[in-house]
Subunit: 278 residues, 2 copies
């Protein structure tokens, strides 16, 4: 039995719910490979203003089971015991924590702490923004822990990684387990085309933060998927083309005290795109 | 100026919001015809359990401006003055009441009342379930008022119009202003294929109630669009093919006391389908 199946059974999920996971696994009953559908997740920043139980209930309501956890739900200096408790709480609610982040790292100690945190969390992916002078040190940790790092682009006002192009330029010569968490909204604000970025950097795209922008502008605010100008069908097409097996995590950054309707609308929109592409 | 433009200006809607209406009108600046995008609406039964102000705020939140009003928000025996007040309240909130219904009609007096109600409401469409023996009388009223009637199919347990095929068989020989409000969930429960129904009865499809079903079964409960088995992309394709110019109204029949997340998810899904089809 695959680890995915074990998790699904442990979480008491139905076969239908399990299908939502979409993880690629060896097909045990047939020789025919099946392309895994794109999988929705939630980027934990979405839940900055709501209690953890509310966040969990919102994920259950919209049928999303993959979470990139933000430290608001589990501080970075938590003990392994506390971290295990958080993971277990989510697991009992059918939610799989697949990554931790965004974690900023300004010192070697903060890099160390992030990897210990991720290890205790049981994730193989840190969504991160290490200071560039720490990238070589971070790479050593990636090799030592066998935990991937996806560096997050944060838009034109960010001094470290404004565009996914800046991220790629920093990591292209480093270990293949160092890549991008492509934030499509910040990317467009910084002048990058997410569809091109995914195509160009395919093997290094480890995670996605999806959202929309009402206009193409450096100062555009994020809105619900489908309300704006970003080419979400084009993004889904290129993700399908490269066989993307990560998550497409909704980062909802409006109505932070009442995010459920916007999360639901964005989830619906993405599912509509995926369903139509077939 | 078209009546649509007048309404849009009166409602203080922006050009972007106006674009959401998608009504077909003569293009005043170009000779090139543009296919109107499919337009979302809300079927008023969705709001059975929430106060009118809540329903209005939910429509504004999800960006849907077209409502088929149910009598819960305006009783059928209301005076014209009361009806005008209801219409004005919605108009001031940027919401256009495009139809009234579903209105059941068991006597000629109830038919009379429905047409007076629709006239006072300013709509050109009644979503209805008149007893079959009243169809000839209803047809006279359609001609007299020049108000269309869209008969609603209500599923296998309905004695009058279980399937859209039953509706069509009753109205095919009647005035062309008598047609269908195709409820895709009830249609599938009654063994009909909504995609085929739209293609076969194209000129008579005046309105749509959209929803999803978890399974194909006579007793399946409606769920959020995209969560179930109905072919929503196929429906949107055939609607585009026939040049459907009515509304695609979400009828959300679960979580009736807290429908907003489900409405938002369904709206997002439909928009994702429409956007992907282009």
């Amino acid at each position: 039995m695959t680890s995915r199946r074990k998790f699904v059974q442990a979480a008491g999920l139905s076969a239908v719910a399990a299908g939502l996971w979409g993880w690629k696994e060896a097909d045990e009953g047939s020789a025919k490979p099946v392309r895994a559908p794109l999988v929705l997740g939630i980027a934990g920043y979405t839940f900055t203003k709501v209690p953890v139980d509310t966040g969990i209930s919102m994920m259950k309501r919209v049928g999303i089971t993959e979470l990139s956890i933000k430290d608001v739900y589990c501080p970075l200096d938590s003990s392994a015991e506390v971290i295990h408790g958080v993971v277990e709480k989510f697991r009992q609610n059918g939610i799989h924590i697949y990554a931790a982040g965004v974690i900023y790292m300004k010192t070697e100690q903060e890099v160390d702490r992030a990897f210990e945190y991720a290890k205790a969390m049981g994730v193989d992916l840190i969504v991160a923004a290490p200071n560039p002078e720490l990238l070589s040190y971070t790479e050593q940790k990636v090799k030592g822990y066998n935990i991937r790092v996806a560096i997050h682009n944060h838009g034109p006002e960010d001094k470290l990684y404004p565009s996914p192009v800046d991220v790629y330029d920093h990591i292209k010569g480093l270990d293949a387990r160092m890549g991008l968490c492509l934030d499509i909204g910040h990317a467009v604000r910084a002048g990058a085309d997410p569809v091109k970025v995914v195509g160009d950097y395919a093997p290094r795209i480890f995670d996605l933060h999806i959202k929309d922008l009402a206009v193409v502008s450096k100062v555009a605010k994020p809105i619900e998927l489908g309300r704006g100008v970003l080419d979400i069908p084009g993004l889904a097409r290129v993700l399908n083309r490269i066989g993307y097996s990560g998550r497409c995590s909704i980062e909802h950054e409006m109505d932070m005290n009442d995010p459920l309707p916007g999360i639901a609308e964005s989830a619906g929109f993405f599912r509509g795109v995926v369903k139509t592409l077939g």
